[in-house]
Each structure stands twice: as structure tokens, then as C-alpha cells.
Amino acid sequence: MVSDLQKKKPAKTKVEIKNLYKIFGPNPKAQVEKVKGGVGKPELLAEHGHVLGLNNINIKMPERAVQVIMGLSGSGKSTLIRHINRLIEPTAGEVIIDGEDVLSMGPNELRDFRRKKASMVFQKFALLPHRLVKENAAYGLTIQGIAEKEAEERAQKWINRVGLAGFENHYPAQLSGGMQQRVGLARALATDAEILLMDEAFSALDPLIRTDMQNVMLDLQEELHKTIIFITHDLDEALRIGDNIAILRDGVMVQQGSPQEIVLKPADDYVSDFIKDINRGRVLMVGSVMDGEKKVPGPTVPSDMAIEDALQVMTSAQSQSAVVEKGGKPVGSITIEDMIAAIARTEGKTEGSSAYT
């Protein structure tokens, strides 16, 4: 079943972060060795007066996938994403994108990288209030030196694509929050950058609008296949949009994996706590909890169907078990008991789910 957790074969790494440390304070370089030697966040603050922002982060982000970085406020997730386009300089470590070290770039190279390769969407939208929607959407292009008229024509496509047609000549302040963030998204997409950095992009929106924007993004991703790095503190959002999830706590990477892995095998109590309140029946897929060996009778369900839906299928077929299918071929089987055990909450879970791993 491990093969099913990683739905696709390992994709090419787009962004790789190696041994990254970020320490805030008057003399951060001097503190790196101490942190490497095992000094933790509280001691570093109490004894050395420095704040440990990120502690030995290692992560490979695959190409054309949505990588979610999750954590509570203060966990360092916004700091981490800003290292990718070097809005924040690391204290130590490497950031490698397409085999190129971002940290070794000179000012001009870096500017070019930011203009062409990675664009960013911000939590509080960060639009230019004195410019019209069309001018904001074209901002990244005008920065590149493209003439205003051409830039606006090119941006128009993205304004339409995010559903803002007809609002080109409004000022941001005349739009609702959700619409402002659509402008932010259009602005980021207009530069055709391969990497999209989204810093809590939907966190400031109310729940309905947030779901709406997630759909907009997923629809776009279906067609564009960008490498999206998405920061959030909302697990539901992470599970919904993430191909991979990395969980940060106090600047330390606690766990990395697919949504299914995170839910089925939380690395520690912190992660367990995180996933405590989610609707497991809706998140977990049949393929993640099936038995690859046993042959049983029953209706057929696709491996990426949510348990909740599979239960529905089996109940209406009045069957205790079902055949799991992937790409038209049977790959395993599942019983009602398997599903109920998987849905059971974290507390009783460790033992129950171990049977399926």
C-alpha cells in the first residue's frame, strides 16, 4: 500500500532546501554552531538573546505539485517561504532551485529570478492601492520593463481567468477581500513564473470565500501545473489542496508526507493534536487503508475514493466488503471494519491503523 500513498512516481525536485538555519538577533552567525550542537529555541533566547527562527530545515519540493507548509503562528512557516525568493536571508544553509543556488545570486540575478521564476501571493493581498485592478495585475510585467499597454493586455487574460472580468477599472479598495486576492493571484500568474509562493494566501478570507478561492486555485493548477508552495495554518485547507504536506513547529520540521500519511501516521503528539478534529472519513482514501493481499467479494470502488463515499457505495450494495480498483485493475480489498478502524480517532488509532501499514 505504500505505493498507493505516493500516487505518482517521485517527481523531479524543483525546490530543495538543505540544512537551513535562520536565527534572529544581533550576531546570528555566531549562534549557528550552538544550535547545531543542540541548543534549543528557549535556551537560545534565554542564554544568548537570539531567536531561533528555523532549525535545520531539509525539504525537497517536487515539480508541478502543491507543497503545503503548515504550522501554527510562530512556527516559522512564513519565514521559510521567504527564503525561497530570498526576501529573508538565511543564517546558514542552501536553497537550490532547478539545480541553481539562490543564495549565490548577485543582486541582478536575484532580481531576474524574482521577476521571471517565482511570484508571490500575500496574506493581506499587498496590492498597490493607487493603481487600478488591471494595473495591479500587470504589475509584475511592468516591473520587467514591458510597456504598460502590452502588459495590461497580457494581464487581462489572467483577470478573466480568476473571474474578475468587468472589474479592470476598479481600485482595489472598491473590491471585497476575496476579489482583492483574486487580483493578487492574477498578478502572480501574469508573469508566467513556474513557482508560485502563497503565503497564507486565503487565511484572511471568510470560510466560504476561502473554499471558493481554493477551487479557483485547484482549477488553475489542473491546467497550469505550477510548482506551488502554499503556507497555511489550516489543516483542512492543507489536506484539500496539498499533494505534500510539511509540518513545522517552533522552527523545526516535524513531519513531511502526503496528506494520507500525515493523517494515518502522525509523527508525534503535536501532529496528532493537529489532525484530531478533521473528518477522517472524508480525508482518507480507500487506497490508503485497503488490504493489498486478501481477495473478497463486493462492489468495486476506485482507490482514490474517500472512505465516506465508499461506505455509501457498500451500504447501498449491502456488502460488507469491496474490491479496490486503480486504473481499471483490482489492486486490493477493503471491509467495513477496516474503514471504521481508520475513521476512529487518533487516541485509539495507533494500534488499529498499524494493521494496515
Partner: protein, 297 residues
């Protein structure tokens, strides 16, 4: 011991006199050495001022009023202000103060232009560097608080009596608000928006002209408004060293106790001040039209 407590341990009269003589002597030497050079440096400004003044005086008065009303309309789009401007200038002319008013208008406009031209770049530099801010702030404090009569002395010693020293005195007094408010405005620009500009690879110039200055405009405009007001309030002092204009009759009125003359000219200054203030504020507000809509950005 007792004497030390009851009498301040001051310099002896002789030493004090020597100190003053030393300073005066050095400055006089400096004046003799460089006075002419500095005066020629100020010549272009003086010519410009005289040119503006002669244009205003040579233009038939109805045209001047129409142009002023037109400017008020362009800036404020407010009929009441335009009517008020016309009425004020007609009254000023009718009460025999037209020429003095034009002279004052020229002085204030040129001084404001100089202050904007120097003040905004200085404010931008100041916003870039905390150290520069630490150096310039006390200088601005001195410029604003030192009694103007004190710096009139060296100014007159260097440049004599006339238009140039008057202009310099007005500028020294009027420039601090524009520098301060430009600096403040740029420092107050939303950090997120700046970060966004950075994330799209904006260069320093692109950030300055597309983000920082436009977003600082409300504050910069408040600075321009303050600068105009302060320049107007210096008109009488400037008249003292040859600035002429509406300040001269006021000085004459003070010396001779001509109540009505002082009042008329004083009210003319007030009228110009109110018109300039309202028009520039209305313009500043119109620049901020994009903030309307209720959803803060």
C-alpha cells in the same frame, strides 16, 4: 565657597568680549572673502523670482484672476473655492493692494517651489537611512524654532538687503515641514506592499517611484501645504530685509500706528493663505480618490 553658590561662575567680561569679537571677526572675514561668490550663487534664484514677479505684474489683472481661478478649479473642482478666490482678489485689488499682493505671490510661489525641489529629495534620503535622519532631525528643529531675527543677521551680512536674502530667510523657515513629512510618509508605507514589490523583482527606483512616493503622497501633500503656510507667515519678516510685497506696508503701519493699513494688508495675507490652504488640501484629497470604497487595502 559662598560666593560660588550665589554668583554664577561666568566668563569674565573681557573674555566674553573677546569671544564675541573672535566670532564676529571670523564671520566678517568669511563674508569679505566669500560674500560676493555666495551672492552670485544666489543670482539665478533672484532673477527667477524677479521674472515671476514681473510676469505677474505685467499681466493684466483680469487675466491673473482668471488664471488663479482656473488653477483653483483644476485643483479642487469646487465652485465655492473658485468664487471665493475671485472675490478675495477683486477685493484686494479694489483696496489698492494689487501690486504688493503680486509681489508676495511671486515670493511665496518661488519659495514653495524651492522648498519642494530640495525638501522632497532630502526627505527621501532621510527615509532611507536612520543615521541621516538622526543628523537632519535636530537641524530641522533648529531651523523651525530659532527666532528668525537671529538668522537674519548672518543672512544680511552675507547677502545684504534685497530679494535674495528675503527668499533665503523664507526658505529656511518653510522647508522643514516638507522634509519631515516626506520622510514620515515614506517610512509609513505599508511594509507588505513593499515586500510585494520586492518579490516581483522591483529595483530601488521602481519601488521609490511606483510604490513609496505615490503611497506617501498624502503626507507629502500635507508637507507642501504646511510649507506654503509657513512661507506666507514669513512675508512680514522678509519685508524687513527687502522682500517687499504685502509685508512692507505692514511694517510701515507698525512704525506709524496706521491701524487700517496694517489690517488691510494683514487680511490680504490671510486671504491668500486661506485660498492656498483650501486649494492645496482639496487637491491632496482628490489625489486620494482611490481610497474611497470602504474596503481598506
Amino acid at each position: 565657597m559662598e560666593q560660588l553658590l550665589t554668583e554664577f561662575p561666568e566668563l569674565s567680561r573681557g573674555a566674553l568680549r573677546d569671544l564675541r569679537r573672535y566670532i564676529d571677526g571670523n564671520f566678517k572675514d568669511f563674508t569679505r572673502e566669500y560674500g560676493e561668490l555666495i551672492e552670485t550663487m544666489f543670482d539665478p534664484l533672484k532673477w527667477f523670482l524677479l521674472w515671476v514677479q514681473s510676469v505677474l505684474l505685467a499681466t493684466p489683472w483680469p487675466i491673473v484672476i482668471i488664471v488663479l481661478c482656473g488653477l483653483a478649479w483644476l485643483a479642487s473642482r469646487n465652485w465655492k473655492l473658485v468664487v471665493g478666490t475671485a472675490a478675495a482678489f477683486l477685493l484686494i485689488g479694489w483696496l489698492g493692494m494689487w501690486e504688493d499682493t503680486m509681489v508676495t505671490l511671486a515670493m511665496v510661489s518661488v519659495a514653495t517651489l524651492i522648498c519642494i525641489g530640495l525638501g522632497i529629495p532630502f526627505g527621501i534620503l532621510m527615509a532611507r537611512s536612520d543615521r541621516l535622519q538622526a543628523i537632519i532631525t535636530p537641524i530641522l528643529d533648529v531651523m523651525q524654532t530659532i527666532p528668525s531675527f537671529v538668522y537674519l543677521i548672518p543672512v544680511v551680512m552675507l547677502l545684504g538687503i534685497g530679494k535674495a536674502p528675503a527668499l533665503l530667510a523664507v526658505c529656511i523657515y518653510a522647508i522643514p515641514p516638507i522634509v519631515r513629512l516626506t520622510n514620515l510618509g515614506i517610512r509609513l508605507v505599508d511594509r507588505e506592499v513593499l515586500e510585494a514589490a520586492d518579490s516581483f523583482g522591483a529595483s530601488y527606483r521602481q519601488k521609490l517611484f511606483n510604490v513609496q512616493v505615490p503611497l506617501a503622497l498624502p503626507n507629502i501633500f500635507a508637507g507642501v501645504n504646511q510649507t506654503i503656510m509657513m512661507a506666507l507667515s514669513m512675508v512680514v519678516v522678509a519685508a524687513l530685509i527687502g522682500g517687499s510685497g504685502l509685508g512692507t506696508p505692514v511694517l510701515r503701519a507698525v512704525n506709524n500706528q496706521y491701524l487700517a493699513l496694517g489690517l488691510f494688508n494683514g487680511m490680504a495675507i490671510v486671504a491668500i493663505a486661506i485660498i492656498f490652504d483650501r486649494v492645496s488640501q482639496a487637491y491632496g484629497k482628490r489625489l486620494q480618490k482611490h481610497r474611497e470604497g470602504g474596503h481598506g487595502v
